[in-house]
Symmetry: C3
């Protein structure tokens, strides 16, 4: 992959990275996450084993813009007992069996009544769907449609030992100060229970990047936000309304471990530097990929790109949400996610970071005619050779277009030379006193 | 047709509309119109039977910008008497037989001389051409080429009992005040004699729209101008130079009854709201269609879009003038025009009007993060469903892009949702206090 | 070719022009040019036989921006004597045999040492390459690879009787004042020795144009610069830093005699009037052609389009440098260049000049509605004819778009009418008092 030159500093060994990422996904998979509760806390603690995290608890009832932090939800146990006494849809077997935010219930109901509270996927009869009812009180179970169809008439005992009480919503941040206060924000949602690709892939890759960046100098300050989807991102924005103003670039990370092609969804602005950098990296990858226009649906770019913030944040994915059959089902599991796909996604995000880090605008200090590169040892001594050398050409491009307006990425795109070539050329020219950063 | 939702208020029954339109065309077809005269007056009277019309007479000799209102022309009778005494090219049989604005003549001429005053279509030997000589005194006849070829040598009596005298040029307007003074101008030329598609189709559709709009509330004020081509439009503009400044949108209507595909010709501006709306409606129609760039040739958009006015007016047609073989001949008759084609054109123009009426810009009053649609009853209660619902998505788009800059039509085009969906979403959001019109 | 109407005033007879151009190329071919020296002076003298030239000598050591005028180089004789006493690589047989700017040398060397100073083209074993070492002292020979391979071991006498001494760099200018001080700059490099297409084709065509323009009135002032590549253009710019500000349009001329398709390389601006004019002429030619974006590599557009000047200058060529196999070899000779290709290139450049000369912006003095062309004798008297006449249409376009912003070329491109038609229409309208130049 031709973006290795860009990703290598953060991802020196793709295979080792893939193994590490897959281990994290597998380790965090069983935890019973939701938008609040102990499973979410436990997950953030696990992430905190690898990077410095600051955790924040926001009490139930706190207003965050148009929303209110809900009650905290925890489940001790939950199951259905059939007329023959068999326990099915047992929360201990799979945490998807309980409708998210179910109120406690313990009663006996007919099959007819039970059916009103059971969610299945008739088209995928073996898979358990993932369903929530965050903002309307309800109880319910999710199960395989085949199992529902096999149930006989009779009296069923439904048992959900949950608590829905005042508590708090938890999110965590990792902040890595750089040369500048300007920030690169990376955000991953942490609220899905045992769903591997949609959630854990993003958390693991964000954790890797934070771990790798903390050991290296960087121009931008980096902030990683691990928060429940929607309400968590809204809570973070509400508490960081001023801080959001220093976000210069950002990415939402999700669905990064399946075998589909890489996909970048542009920010609302559409032509932010992050949009150009992500598009550039994908086009350089030489692999099939997709670049999608912004839409106000998807992950937390919905909040970051709301018109009152309009942050320059896109979303990096493989197959977008809702576009793979396993999405929001029990089949989004440890078989769907693959170590090499995780590593490939990581390398691309690392390359985007490298482009953003290396990008800049320069001014040609010798703008009238070309400078004589030869006398500075920057040019081939024997004229007339037709084998043009890439670095020389990259220098000519960097000199010609460095009028303060074009960034190195602009120059790379217009010239057709690689970003790392243009970047190296600009570095050599700056050292020779021919370019000055603006 | 997917634009029914837009056109229905003005055109509830396409079949009935088609019948009405065809009746009007058939009724007005025999009248001997020109750019002045009694046939033109009679036509405007007929239109006035259906809608409130104000008629305006401008005396011969009046200066209108670079032009002068010509003398008024009327014909009592006209014919050629052959050597054998037969009357041919008789005005009573078809008013195309007389060269428009022929001076009176009554003399005997040789076949050779006659030929210098006879216009035919050698390529279409059965059809009579439509010819005028408004600004250079002449007399002449138009006839089928086959007939001309059959004439024998001898003395011919040419008889045109016409008057070309000081009088006036007539045009009429129907003004329907709306909530705003801003105007939507619709213009149709009324100067062609027995030519069905090129003229009468536009007059009939304009009459329908005026009749339908007078019974309904509307944001814009509507003005319908029924005037002779070129000199009539120039006269209207000369007398309404200030009034033209309130024209926000406009359409010239012509050639709307043939079976060709619908065609929209853009205004000189090219990206006026009327251009976007017409293009949108045609693209939504699901039918073959054409959108043409402006050119300074065609109908009265030539005048409305002259650089000193540059009004945002396009031209709505089916086959453009000069592009169907029957154009400006006796074959542009009641067989060329079809009721269902008239109705289809009407529905599309009505849809354009509906888009313009419904289009607007809003400001999101809760611009920081999404508002919680659920607590306002605007969102599905059970999260996690993958069947995205169109109205919800339309609301998310309207919220995200309503920053005062994007119109609802812009949002429809960018989102891919239908205009009526975005419009309905904006209405629901305005009602919920989340959007405010700007 | 449909651009004949444009090129004819400067090139009335293509065949005669082709013959004249080929004669010049053949006449100037044997001279031993370099970036300084007597061969260059002799070439400029030859050009000066046809047009009024001002020659400029810049002393060695003069600073020109970042560069310094080098020592002057002249060669009296040069050859290699083989062990058997045969003279090979003799400068008198072909001036490419000596590495450009070779220091004098007279010694005996082994074949091994000789090989370090011999340049060949292994892939083109019969051709002699063209090589220089302007800025690093070296001596060397260029020869056919087949010849090098045939050399036997033994002692070789290398003899280069050259001088590399303080002297001067020579360039020449032809200035033809026009109605305006604004300049059209044409530049051709004059430093290549016996290379026919890459150099002489451009010099010959520039000479023709200067000769033809001096006998005709023209709006712009024309300046032709004949200078060695790179250092010569830099020297000219250094001495004319203020004068460069009046350059409104410009072309670098090179590689204009081969049989490849015509190629225009845009200025750094990309949308300068010269870019539009050249692209227009090529598109009108009806022949295959290429229009390339600017790149900071190639001929002296590198200097003229450096960011401190950013002159609106493109480069007119046939096959671009480096893209034909004979480039910078002995095979770029009098067989590669063809009289009809030279004439074709000349006609196209002449057409570009005609477009630039004729292009202008006008203001419609009767902007409200169309003026009545008929009463001014500018319009067909009999209305209703469907054979639209090109001049009438061109007038309507010129009237409609002449708002001071659109040039005649813009109007030609937008309307689809030819530039000469729009130009003629504007002339007729100006004469009738309907348009005024801005």
């Amino acid at each position: 992959m031709s973006i290795d030159a860009l990703s290598a500093p953060l991802v020196p060994d793709n295979r080792a990275a893939g193994a590490w990422l897959y281990e994290r996904v597998a380790e965090w998979y069983p935890l019973d996450r939701s938008i609040t509760g102990n499973g979410l806390r436990k997950t953030l603690d696990c992430i905190g084993e690898h990077i410095p995290l600051t955790t924040c608890e926001i009490p139930t009832g706190t207003a965050v813009f148009d929303w209110t932090i809900p009650r905290e939800w925890n489940v001790r146990e939950a199951y259905i007992k059939t007329p023959s006494g068999e326990r099915i849809a047992d929360f201990r077997e799979h945490n998807l069996h309980v409708l998210g935010y179910s109120v406690p219930v313990h009663e006996k109901v007919s099959l007819e009544t039970l059916r009103e509270h059971v969610f299945t996927l008739p088209d995928k009869p073996e898979w358990v769907p993932y369903r929530n009812s965050y903002y309307k009180e309800n109880w319910g179970f999710c199960m395989a449609h085949r199992q529902l169809e096999s149930l006989e008439d009779g009296e069923y005992e439904v048992h959900i030992d949950s608590t829905l009480e005042d508590g708090s919503l938890t999110y965590a941040e990792c902040y890595l100060p750089g040369e500048r206060e300007d920030e690169f924000l990376l955000s991953a949602h942490a609220c899905h229970p045992s769903i591997a690709n949609d959630n854990l892939s993003g958390l693991a890759i964000a954790a890797w990047l934070a771990r790798a960046l903390q050991d290296r100098p960087h121009r931008y300050s980096y902030r990683f936000v691990f928060a429940p989807g929607t309400i968590g991102a809204i809570a973070w924005l509400a508490r960081n309304e001023a801080g959001a103003q220093v976000v210069r670039h950002g990415l939402v990370l999700a669905c990064l471990g399946d075998s589909g092609q890489s996909t970048y969804k542009r920010s609302r602005r559409g032509d932010a530097e992050i949009d150009l950098a992500a598009q550039y990296v994908l086009s350089q990858s030489g692999q099939p990929h997709a670049v999608l226009d912004f839409s106000p649906y998807g992950y937390d770019e919905r909040q970051y790109c709301s018109p009152g913030f309009d942050l320059p944040m896109g979303c990096f994915m493989r197959t977008p949400p809702g576009h793979y059959p396993e999405y929001h089902t029990s089949a989004d599991n440890l078989e769907l996610v693959q170590a090499d796909c995780l590593a490939d996604s990581l390398a691309k995000v690392a390359a985007v970071i490298a482009v953003i880090e290396g990008n800049g605008r320069y001014r040609n200090l010798n703008p009238k005619c070309e400078p004589q590169l030869g006398k500075r040892g920057l040019y081939s001594a024997i004229g007339g050779r037709t084998d043009t050398r890439d670095l020389e050409m990259a220098m000519l491009w960097a000199l010609n277009l460095s009028d303060g307006g074009n960034s190195l990425l602009d120059i790379a795109v217009r010239s057709g030379y690689r970003f790392d070539q243009i970047h190296a050329a600009a570095g050599a020219l700056e050292e020779a006193g021919l370019l000055s950063p603006v």
